[in-house]
Symmetry: C2
Subunit: 616 residues, 2 copies
């Protein structure tokens, strides 16, 4: 029953040989790889304004200069990543680049930072997508929908997880339609608004409930740095193309680099455009209605009509796609780590549908947990976000500098200049992010990263130890087993005991004993009587148990037996009867399970489980 339910949800298993990689055109690849980066314009401007508002309405005008700084950073990082694409046409994620050029520790730090950020990508994107929908519902007269934000977000995460467990064929269309709808509608809105504002002047945003604004902080360098740090969330996802160069049609590197350039241009245009429009129309983050900045701007530009609705839905869809990207990235990175034995093996095995099911499940659960803890409020989640990305940026760029220095291939000086500038810039931003966001949640990420790194190393050492101990290079051929001794543990004498006794006699013809633990003193005599008739001529030992424990006297007896016969191989024979219905297992003492665990795992004994199947 459980298995057919799984079939229904996930689909039929797919054979290994059916695995193939679809090569993507530039047009499709832009849609597949850029949803995470492009969708960040849905919250990056809002994140900047949400910080600036702490300095009062007057502080909001600083959004333009901060937007410009973020845009410059975006372009620099973009140029730097073009280098990575050319250097690693096989796919150059931060983990790969760092492992090859900087060594294990930086690679693990980058990996830990990225894993955390993928979880945050899902939580932030889904929360922001739900916010786009609830903002839309608010203008339709259903503002109550935002109280359902958490369940809505959880349903979205469940759907995306399930789709990935089924193994979505990444057929371009699914990605292309929402991505291009989003790009087109946002660019159209910006163009339309600029033209109209130039002709008629900009109208201020109509606030349904104007928020009370208290200037709680002075407008100083600290506030501006915090706002800048908040805006840096626009850079998340920019590295996606460099991870997936192999998915492009040949020439892979050239196509990937061109796509990256296109993406950065579109991203910068949309980000600057939205930030400018928000400034022009005086959009303000509203904690009361939780209406997004994009919604406020779009509503002011187009009025509440089809165009506005289209923008909101396109925004929600591209945000869900952004979450979906993390569902490809997280399991892949986890499988790399698992392949290199830094994570449990389970992350490297492909499930029924050829996807890394365990990575998908872990990502879905962690992000659902975040959504519940942060009540699907993406603005509250943002301070945790982007810290990890900038750590991995810095490590990756530094790795590239080392690589250029080592290889000294043609034009290496210029490459070092680009990567070095990128590394320094991202390192600076990383410090700014870590410091300004520290008390707002970044401390959590900065604490989690070393914990993850230590876990990776502990797991690695364990696998290394196991491999050393199992290695045949130090093995001696085992002596063949001389003589077998069998001990049959019986819970009484009944039909289920007989096959175990017969089997034990044939396994160890010379040396079989049956052992019974007597919990109630008066039962011993009756047991002896019945044993004489039915005991198959096997000698019976009755153990007393003053403390009513089954396991303790048995373990003591087995220790004694081992002392007697040093040269033997001791077989513990356990008759286990098997109920015909699943719930009936609960009705029997789980003694068999307990005994097997104690004997196998604590004592290292060979255990022979002899089933006796009940028919009804």
């Amino acid at each position: 029953m459980a298995s057919s339910f799984k079939r229904l949800l996930i689909g039929k298993p797919i054979a290994t040989e059916q695995q193939h990689e679809e090569r993507l055109s530039r047009f499709t690849a832009l849609a597949v790889f850029s949803s995470d980066a492009l969708s960040s314009v849905a919250y990056a401007t809002e994140a900047i304004l949400a910080v600036l508002i702490l300095g009062g309405i007057a502080a909001l005008s600083n959004s333009l200069i901060i937007g410009a700084a973020v845009a410059i950073l975006l372009v620099m990082v973009g140029i730097s990543y073009r280098q990575t694409i050319h250097a690693y046409p096989q796919g150059g994620g931060a983990y790969t680049v760092a492992r090859e050029n900087l060594g294990e520790l930086p690679a693990l730090v980058a990996a830990g930072a990225l894993l955390i950020d993928y979880v945050l990508t899902v939580a932030v994107s889904i929360s922001a997508g739900v916010a786009a929908i609830t903002s839309l519902a608010g203008t339709w007269g259903y503002p109550e929908l935002r109280h359902l934000a958490v369940p809505l977000a959880l349903v979205c995460i469940a759907i995306v997880s399930l789709a990935n467990l089924r193994g979505t064929k990444e057929s371009g269309a699914i990605f292309a339609i929402p991505t291009y709808a989003f790009i087109t509608s946002i660019l159209a809105m910006i163009t339309f608004a600029l033209i109209r504002d130039a002709m008629f002047g900009a109208e201020p945003v109509v606030h349904p409930i104007p928020p009370e604004i208290h200037a709680s902080q002075a407008i100083g360098l600290w506030l501006l740095l915090r706002a800048f740090a908040a805006g840096c969330t626009a850079l998340t996802g920019i590295e996606a193309i460099s991870d997936g160069v192999q998915a492009f049609r040949p020439p892979e590197a050239k196509n990937a680099a061109a796509t990256l350039t296109t993406m950065v241009i579109i991203l910068v245009t949309m980000f600057i455009g939205i930030t400018y429009l928000a400034h022009l129309h005086g959009a303000v983050p509203n904690e009361l209605t939780h209406e997004t900045i994009i919604s406020q701007v779009a509503r002011t530009v187009f009025g509440v009509g089809p165009a506005y609705t289209f923008i909101q839905i396109a925004t929600a869809l591209i945000l869900v796609l952004a979450a979906n990207t993390a569902f490809a990235d997280f399991p892949r990175l986890a499988s790399f780590l698992s392949r290199d034995r830094f994570l449990p093996r389970q992350f490297a095995s492909r499930g029924d549908r050829l996807v890394f099911s365990n990575g998908i499940l872990v990502l879905g659960l962690c992000s659902a947990l975040l959504v519940v803890i942060f009540q699907a409020n993406e603005i509250a989640l943002l301070p945790l976000y982007a810290v990890g990305v900038f750590i991995s940026f810095t490590i990756s760029q530094t790795g590239m500098v080392r690589r250029h220095l080592r290889l000294q291939s043609p034009g290496w000086q210029r490459s070092i200049l680009i990567s070095g500038t990128g590394a320094m810039l991202t390192a600076t931003v990383m410090v700014v992010l870590g410091v300004t966001k520290f008390t707002h949640g970044a401390w959590l990420v900065l604490m989690l990263i070393p914990i993850l790194v230590i876990s990776f190393q502990t797991i690695h050492r364990h696998y290394q130890r196991v491999a050393d101990q199992l290695s045949l290079t130090t093995a001696v051929r085992p002596r063949s087993v001389r003589r077998l001794t069998a001990i049959v543990l019986v819970s009484g004498i009944h039909k289920g005991t007989l096959p175990a006794l017969e089997l034990a006699k044939s396994l160890a013809p010379d040396n079989v004993t049956a052992v019974y633990v007597n919990l109630e003193p008066e039962h011993a005599e009756r047991m002896h009587t019945r044993w004489r008739e039915w005991g198959c001529n096997v000698p019976l030992v009755i153990l007393e148990s003053p403390y009513r424990s089954l396991i303790t006297p048995l373990l003591k007896y087995i220790d004694e037996m081992e002392g007697h016969y040093r040269d033997d191989h001791l077989l513990i024979v356990l008759p286990e009867f098997i109920p015909s219905r699943w719930w009936e297992h609960l009705l029997h003492n789980q003694t068999g399970l307990l005994l097997r665990t104690a004997l196998m795992f604590r004592k290292g004994q060979t255990v022979v489980s002899v089933p006796y199947k009940l028919e009804r």
Copy 2:
């Protein structure tokens, strides 16, 4: 580590032979057995008033007549139970009496009703005890404490559960002090108040916040019946002495009957006294402050001082003792049911400390759940309470009538009159309770009882089936095993595989095969090469697995093998390597466990687990 933590909480194991029963004097027995019954005066009056108030302030004066009716019922039931004590000096719980005189079904109904009521006893008593403390804290100026009622109640349940898991020696003193403190202080309060009121006239209760009272119902028969039903909670626990006659010093029955009489007299005096004082001083249940009636009365009589504090603390303590009584009753009844195979065997086994640990744990968890659901509000819980008690009263009294009819021992006509009157009275009250409380929560109990009864019967049938199938009366002596075939399932060739191969060769010298499931096509050749060197001359079969499943191809292969050799006993040999640290188990595919489960439980194969212990 887990085991030493358990030692710390529960204490060292106690040997079976140390089990002994302490015989109690009348004085101590009253304290041990009556805390449940006596403590119900802490909420019974309040329950009556909480119903009457629905008819407005004027309706409250009916509390006296209702109190009198409940008192009469108490006396009648008490007289009836004296008969049970004399008839069942071995202990005559409703389950025992019904099983012997009425048959299985009524016995199971009584048992189900009682189990539910024990859970309610804990939830109600602990919640009322916490209310006594928060009422006290309210007069001290800490009314906020009542917001912590749920965590406080949960802590109390945890402490009482733990104390019972340790196996409290029921040394009389622990029970005697709070019980007699409660009796003395309540009787003193009643006497003092009556004298003072007679001399100076009764002062009205000072309400810190007078509740708004809306007469939502007319004062009619229905309201009075509901109020009467609410007051019947005073009868809970009255049967306790008849269950525990064996604990009395000889002559057991005579002492027990005398103690029951004393208890009923004290109970009726306290109940009538409190109800009268509440009426005289105009105490009203207050939903806003959640101050108990006892607290209101005591505060008015004594003022906020040491006497008032003493009463509140004594009330809280006797309520905790009442909960503690259920922790003796529930596990004992569950063990009777388990002994008769109506509940899983686990309820009949005594834990390390000679107590029925599983019953204690189940009771603790269920009552904690109730406390959380009902937010530790005992007034909300009361409509569920007492329904079960009256069902068991009725069944038990009816059983006594049948017994008298059957035995016709001297004076049987008089006995039938008493028991018959008791049965009819309690049956009437049972119907009144069921009908008036139905929509207020009793439906839940009335629905749960048949569910429990059906579960009891299902479990019983299962154990019966198992016993039939295991019975040796139909057994034929099994043929001795002719030939053994061994299949070794290997996950590769390494040090852990070698001992399993050697053992398999010695178990089935003629017929051993090793089977390897190949998940990655390119590994097959390497496996063959290494096997030639290290395979201990065992033939190797490599199975392909197009869908990356380990288990499916193995099960298919085993089916085929079984087809080949019909006469053999097939041994599946599983090499399992055992990490040296507990957390390391998580790092390995749980394939061994999955395979063992599939082979043993689905296929009914004999499985030989051969451990290979890792040293570090």
